[in-house]
């Protein structure tokens, strides 16, 4: 499945390899890189509205976003630590919030779902 696209990408890489010696080629790659950086960031930002319905709460979810960004992007901690620390805490906290809301719903079967 990956063979044809692999060949295309490698061919592009080889083509760029020749271009990368020139100042214009290096600049073009830098420009592409900057656009790609913006594109990936936008992919993340497009997911932010979905966090509104996070069981841990909207503000808490945004705090986890910021903490992850700071730990991985700025402090450059190894990903294993971040997932073990922040990831585990976020999942456990979500689990407790889900448990609480499930129990509340079970206690008041008449109440309409929020």
């Amino acid at each position: 499945v990956l063979t044809v696209p692999s060949v295309v990408v490698l061919a592009m890489a080889i083509a760029f390899e020749n271009v990368a010696d020139t100042a214009a080629g290096q600049g073009a790659l830098r420009g592409l890189g900057a656009v790609v950086a913006g594109l990936i960031t936008a992919t993340g930002l497009k997911l932010v509205p979905a966090l509104r319905s996070s069981p841990m709460g909207h503000r808490e979810a945004l705090a986890v976003v910021l903490l992850t960004f700071a730990a991985v992007g700025v402090i450059r901690l190894p990903l294993v630590w971040v997932l073990a620390g922040l990831g585990t805490s976020a999942c456990l906290w979500t689990w407790f919030c889900l448990k609480r809301s499930d129990e509340l719903r079970a206690a008041q079967p008449e109440a309409p779902a929020p």
Binding site: E17, G31, A34, G38, T41, L47, T94
Partner: protein, 198 residues
């Protein structure tokens, strides 16, 4: 750039990508900051420019974006084997690099992830599964934004280039707020860069 890679370095490269693959909570793209840490900062197997170029070319090319993993390996192989100018040995080493990183990335995710995804889907009503999915959602967002930042930040010891950040921010806003075709943006970025403005 020339880098000497010993046999144990190749093994390290493979094992690192194997382990990384198991940490991909939101797809391979969320692993980019960690790959930069390993390939550029810890081992110096790639320059920052080569790392960014690998991402740029793979995203601009048609086909699955996961191929940036192959390109990173390809570039490590180029550095280790003296480049394509070195003839057959250079080509083979570059191919070996692409193969090593892709195999490391795909072996766990095609087996473990397959079963994990099926199990999670069958038990999607389970509170633990819901907690796992929804708890990791903000982490994935943070990792995506961190990926963007790592790509524009440049070398750790040099100052951040304001025009690179500006181009990235404008592209981010355009992608976020409009439905413009990505190729226009990529083309504009490459053009601005070629004119020396990024």
């Amino acid at each position: 750039v020339n880098v000497a890679l010993t046999g144990s370095d190749w093994l390290t490269l493979f094992v690192q990508f194997l382990l990384l693959s198991c940490l991909s909570v939101g797809g391979a793209i969320t692993l980019v900051p960690e790959m930069h840490r390993i390939l550029v900062e810890s081992h110096g197997w790639l320059t920052n420019e080569q790392f960014v170029a690998s991402m740029a070319i793979a995203q601009a090319a048609p086909g699955p974006n996961i191929l940036f993993v192959a390109l990173m390996g390809w570039n490590v192989g180029l550095n280790a084997g003296g480049g394509l100018a070195n003839g057959l040995a250079g080509w083979m080493t570059a191919f070996a690099g692409a193969l090593v990183t892709m195999a490391g990335m795909l072996i766990p995710s095609t087996t473990l992830t397959y079963f994990a995804t099926r199990w999670a889907h069958r038990n999607r009503e389970l509170r633990a599964v819901r907690a796992l999915k929804q708890g990791l959602a903000p982490i994935v967002v943070g990792l995506l934004v961190a990926t963007g930042w790592v790509l524009v930040r440049g070398d750790a010891d040099s100052a951040v280039n304001p025009s690179t950040v500006a181009v990235a921010l404008i592209s981010m806003l355009i992608v976020w707020r409009t439905n413009i075709h990505l190729l226009w943006l990529l083309g504009a970025g490459a053009l601005l860069g070629a004119m020396g403005m990024v």
